[in-house]
Subunit: 395 residues, 2 copies
Amino acid sequence: MAEIAVFGYGTVGSGVVEVIDRNAELMKSRGVDMHVKYVLDIRDFSGDPISSRIVNDVDVILNDPEISVVCETMGGATFAYEYSRKALEKGISVCTSNKELVEAKGAELMKTAREHGCSYMFEASVGGGIPLIRTINDALTAERIDRIYGILNGTTNYILTKMDECGAGFDEVLKEAQELGYAEKDPTADVEGHDACRKIAILASLVSGKCAEWKDIDTEGITNIDTEDFRFAKELGCSIKLIAMCDFNDGCRAIVSPRMITADSPLNSVKGVFNGVLIHSDMLDDSMYYGRGAGKLATASAVVADAFECVRFDGKEVGRGWSEEKLVFADADDMKGRFFVRVDNANADAAAAALGASDKIKHENETGMVSAEMNGKEFKKKLSGLSGVVKFIRF
Amino acid sequence: MAEIAVFGYGTVGSGVVEVIDRNAELMKSRGVDMHVKYVLDIRDFSGDPISSRIVNDVDVILNDPEISVVCETMGGATFAYEYSRKALEKGISVCTSNKELVEAKGAELMKTAREHGCSYMFEASVGGGIPLIRTINDALTAERIDRIYGILNGTTNYILTKMDECGAGFDEVLKEAQELGYAEKDPTADVEGHDACRKIAILASLVSGKCAEWKDIDTEGITNIDTEDFRFAKELGCSIKLIAMCDFNDGCRAIVSPRMITADSPLNSVKGVFNGVLIHSDMLDDSMYYGRGAGKLATASAVVADAFECVRFDGKEVGRGWSEEKLVFADADDMKGRFFVRVDNANADAAAAALGASDKIKHENETGMVSAEMNGKEFKKKLSGLSGVVKFIRF
């Protein structure tokens, strides 16, 4: 029997307890017998069945030689960092859903784990319950990954899907998403793309083996996307998605931005709060992973799967991580692509000629067009010489 | 350095050598140093660079204590079975792409592996390069899987996609697929659904822990799908896909058949030779895995990923398998569903009333309709009482 401690009894932490309690027999039949012995929280939850397992002092857990794995679901990078480090120093593997901590201190914590014969695992930090980290670490081991391209934030995907389907504006849909609990009261981290950016930073670190900092990644959110964009998108046979991407050809280039997604892309049908990530690699070509990128039980299940693996391969370092060497990104604007551009009707012909756009869609006041393929620098240079440009969205 | 032997230098076997030769440095940086020492084949490939590694006698390999993993890509269930068993009995892990052998003798070979401290791995036997086996074994460890539902055969998906997009008939598209190498000269195993059936049998075994036999699974191919079906499908906003499914609620029920897939399903956008598999489980809800289900390098990469894991966790049993106990399937016709039915126009109103179909699509001679939800037995009973029925396709 492997005794587990959970750090933090919030949404994901209570989910971890629920997953282990509910599916313990099933996991036992698969070879791992797990039990939650302690839950660390500053609250005592008196009256709740969990209260008998609540401890307020982390040392009770760290000094109990029976504990073999900690599930860290506290969030933040202060106490979570300190407690995770201490656990790893005791040889206790730590499995986390805390993307902030993984992005900020992952390299150091993985090194600590390696030095103490245990593992620091973080499947749940990216894509919730979708096995992305495990796929990159364990399945695509014979693959050179060229590009990761995906929808990594469920809140923005919900908002964009609703705007697309109902023709509603951003503010209206955001308000509805907040009422339904799909968006936070302060939605900044989601709608400005910071959450997706942290996640693509973790994937960039994992693939490159160096430490990517999210602040180095060009990030544009969805707050400027409007109903007129969706009207044009529909006529182009596209949807609009917030795409986090990282390209590993000739250096590493990352960018988070809204994009027009054509109907033939498997990402086009990733709707609502679902996430979907396309990975392109040299032998396998495109593969895609789709599922719930957030939510109590989906995320908790990924934390528990990590704990399962730590117990199963006790004594072996299970994860693969990255070094503390900083990843220096190359300029994302060196990548080639196409660009959807809205121009006022008076200047549309000149813009189309300059951008090499063959098809134009004319609305009452504006014309939408898609540029020829060119790199971002060239595009921006051409754009700066044009009059009447309303906006552009990457294709 | 882990020395590898490859059994069979056909399409996948030569792919395994290519993947290891090309990405050896990359895999070494990920912690596993692999080298192909021998290739077993009855041919000698004189003049080919591989010839120096070719051996014709399996005992040379089995008696070399340096060999730690065998990649079996011979196909068939006679020599492949004998050689795999002998390797496992020597404590050499075997990684295979051979679905016929896995389906027929997997349980026995996994038992042999367990008894000899090694592993029998078969990621490449289902879904080519898509990490399905690994996801079920290693990622969804905390999940109770309710249902697997997917496109597991690239040849039929290519044919159906072409019929859908070009309005061409089955025979014409099959001929084209054969010319392009997407379909075999004798296409029976693909177009009659047997290949997809073997794969869903392997997944059913893996999830249930018992040995599923493909002959026990109701299987219907795509040879009866015609252009009129696609005309109706388009008007219903659907595509038609060959779906292999297994349901684990209240026993285990499996069926392989063409189905109408609505536009909002992520399987709708799985086109051409790609495969896509939806897994529904209790904590994660729906997740989907998409990629190339066949092809030399994609399949070889999955074999090599298995070998990587065997080397990495040398001495631990890596895979999870099933027992030799026979899986007794429950009746698939007990499952509820909806059914698309074509009826001649004279009998359409009576059929719609009997089947609870609300919407009808009228063509020149026939009317298409979708039944209310009912179980398969009830549907077939109602159908047998109707006149003028042309055909039905599951929804």
